[in-house]
């Protein structure tokens, strides 16, 4: 076991996968010699060679289109999209191609690829280096969407994604790439199952549901709430599609009060889906309306980033609201 950051865990998972399975290849802008702009692929080209870890021309549609072809024909590509904000030129390839290949070919052409991309805000990146657009992709049947929040889960889920027979969009909350969130990570190969949520903190009064970097904001809010005598359960979805509905419903029923927290704009964010599922299947357990704390319905701002992003204060206000109902 070694203590690792989220970023080290990504690098470790990729190295492990390259060693473990010779079908794995990595492609993307700047992933080669310089090891990616965040250094997620640092040292991989030197270790595994240019045939397995290579730079691409600047065209996301090309990166994903080529990766799809590789996946159809026996490789396990792990393309990187430098920032999630730049994935849109590849939207067609992902939504109309990768996600539908298995279905439209009656299973003749499965498309197992893992698209990695740093996502979300918190690095002062303005409109185009901050978006948390998981909801667009969650709306696409045939595509799995994973967004873990700790080094241990990042490594295990990335390896599970690479093992998965279907296309996975693997979102890395870049705000927690670095030191603040280190954790012991097992050596070598292990997986964390896709589609299973994780309870980070047990509680009886309010259930906080989050994924990615917002899990840590919820943990901070839960700590503060406990000082006021309110006990919070913190559920980390880890996977958005397929959603661990069972865990969501169990956690919701346990406390009867739910606050869902995400960075993405509130309208049609994935929180709406969770809220709807709880309303449909557990409304009689609810002691208060389901609350959402989310990014605002504006493009992601630069100077006011720290005001835009949900913080522990906003989560606490929502906790107060559901407690006071």
């Amino acid at each position: 076991m070694a203590v690792k950051t989220v970023l080290n865990a990504v690098n470790d998972a990729l190295r492990t996968a390259l060693r473990h399975d010779e079908r794995v290849v990595i492609l993307g802008e700047d992933v080669g010699k310089t090891g990616g702009v965040f250094r997620a692929t640092d040292g991989l080209q030197a270790e595994f060679g240019e045939a397995r870890v290579f730079d691409t021309p600047l065209a996301e549609g090309g990166i994903i289109g080529v990766a799809i072809g590789m996946a159809l024909n026996g490789l396990k590509p792990v393309p990187e999209i430098q920032f999630l904000d730049f994935i849109y030129p590849a939207f067609d390839q992902i939504v109309n191609e990768a996600a539908k290949f298995r279905y439209r070919s009656g299973g003749e052409y499965p498309c197992p690829l893992v698209i990695r991309s740093p996502a979300g805000g918190g690095i002062k990146g303005g409109h185009y280096h901050s978006q948390s657009s998981e909801a667009y992709f969650a709306h696409t049947p045939g595509l799995k969407v994973v967004m873990p929040s700790t080094p241990h889960d990042v490594k295990g889920l990335l390896l599970a994604s690479i093992e998965d027979p279907d296309p996975v969009l693997f979102l890395e909350p870049k705000r927690i790439y670095h030191k603040k969130f280190t954790e012991e990570v097992p050596e070598g190969f292990y997986t964390v199952p896709i589609g299973k949520a994780r309870t980070h903190r047990e509680g009886d009064d309010v259930t906080l549901v989050a994924w990615g970097a917002m899990v840590h904001v919820c943990l901070e809010a839960a700590e503060k709430a406990s000082e006021r005598g309110v006990s919070c359960e913190v559920l980390d979805l880890r996977t958005i599609v397929p959603l661990d509905v069972e865990s969501v419903l169990a956690a919701a029923k346990k406390t009867g009060r739910v606050v869902i927290v995400h960075e993405a704009p509130r309208t049609a964010g994935f929180g709406a889906e969770i809220s709807a599922i709880i309303a449909e299947r557990a409304i009689e357990w609810m002691e208060a309306p389901i609350a959402r704390v989310a990014g605002f319905d504006t493009p992601f701002p630069y100077t006011l980033e720290h005001v835009y992003l949900p913080d522990a204060g906003r989560v606490l206000a929502a906790i107060d609201h559901v407690m006071g109902y």
Binding site: V37, G126, Y128, Y302, E305, V307
Partner: protein, 371 residues
């Protein structure tokens, strides 16, 4: 031929008089002054970032010649669809240093209230269209703006700037094809600085040149020495004139070199040899022009000193003024999403203001940009 490179300025400053564009002495000196100002602005931008006074900066060091050459070749009513690496073009078109720096600092007095990252200017008075980060998107947009000009019978044109990396993007191919099909009054200007972050041009394309790509779209492609301010002026003027005459688009490939890092967060020593940089430094666009001006008795140490000192003073004065400006108020974040804010957004704004007033917000302004 798409492989010849138009060049006017030579290393020793000896230039055949017939090749020199028709620019009077005053204009030539003004070009030089603006190149010095551009470099000083970039140097200061990088310093401010190093000192932690701004979060991020994109330097254009090494590309001053092409910026000022273009600035003089284009008209006031022409529309610029800029790259993030042409601050000098904005300054040369009359954007004030304070305006530029309010954007870089993201102050409350920035035209868009600090909504965008540094170096993503939007300067309507200069017809300098708001910059976005995604590469290539602006190229077909320039075609559309140009078609609007033609539709109204105007003589102006549009020009799109993008890098060598940008020529791989969808936008490049869309723009060239649409522009060509409609004979749009547009110029496509590629700043071929040899690198797209860490990816060298050899890994970006197998085409022998970028200019040659124009041939496939049925439009002319020209190569020009991008460190030669006069050659860039001549090539851009010719392409713009052609567009104005209704003869359609031109692709210009300006050969230059990114002398600095990709941005304040990049470390180019990880991926490119120092010798390559040193080689291009000898070809500094400022020095090339200086030698030429000196031969014509338009440059001396005295003029150099004046240019440098005036630039530094003007920038310092602007920095001082801008650093006094307050940050944008939280409610400005909700403005301008639509012309009229939807009721739901107004509710979100009001809730935030209530929380902020009661001191309940805990978010810290500690984001750090790693790229």
């Amino acid at each position: 031929m798409a492989s010849e490179v138009l060049s006017i300025l030579t290393a020793d400053g000896r230039v055949s008089p017939s090749a020199v564009p028709d620019l009077d002495d005053g204009r030539l000196r003004e070009m030089y002054r603006l190149m010095v100002l551009t470099r000083a602005f970039d140097d200061r931008g990088m310093n401010l970032q190093r000192q932690g006074r701004i979060g991020f900066y994109v330097p254009s060091r090494g590309e001053e010649g092409l910026q000022i050459g273009c600035a003089f070749a284009l008209g006031k009513d022409d529309w610029i669809f800029p790259s993030y690496r042409i601050p000098g073009l904005a300054i040369a078109r009359g954007a004030s240093l304070e305006t530029m720096l309010h954007q870089v600092y993201g102050t409350g007095r920035d035209a868009c209230s600090g909504r965008q990252m540094p170096c993503h200017y939007s300067l309507r008075p200069q017809n300098f269209v708001s910059i976005s980060s995604p590469i290539g998107t602006r190229i077909p947009q320039a075609v559309g703006a140009a078609l609007a000009m033609r539709y109204r019978g105007e003589r102006s044109i549009a020009i799109a700037f993008f890098g060598d990396g940008g020529t791989s993007s969808d936008g490049f191919h869309l723009g060239l094809n649409f522009g060509a099909v409609y004979d749009a009054p547009v110029v496509f200007f590629c700043q071929n600085n040899q690198w797209a972050i860490s990816v060298p041009i050899e890994k970006q394309t197998r085409s022998e040149t970028i200019a040659i790509k124009a041939t496939a779209y049925g439009i002319p492609g020209v190569r020009v020495d991008g460190n030669d301010v006069l050659a860039v002026y001549a090539a851009t003027k010719a392409a713009a004139d052609r567009a104005r005459e209704g003869l359609g688009p031109t692709l210009i490939e300006a050969l230059t070199f990114r002398m600095g890092p990709h941005s304040s967060s990049d470390d180019p020593t990880r991926y490119r040899p120092k010798e390559k940089v040193a080689e291009w430094e000898k070809d500094d666009p400022l020095r090339r022009f200086q030698v030429f001006l000196a031969r014509r008795k338009l440059w001396d140490e005295e003029f150099e000193k004046t240019c440098v000192e005036e630039a530094k003073e003007a920038i310092s004065a602007a920095v001082t003024a801008v650093e006094k400006a307050p940050p944008p108020a939280p409610e400005t974040m909700f403005e301008g999403v639509f012309e009229t804010p939807p009721a739901e957004l107004a509710l979100q704004r009001d809730a935030l203001i209530r929380l902020s007033a009661s001191g309940q917000l805990t978010g810290r302004d500690d984001g750090y940009f790693p790229l």
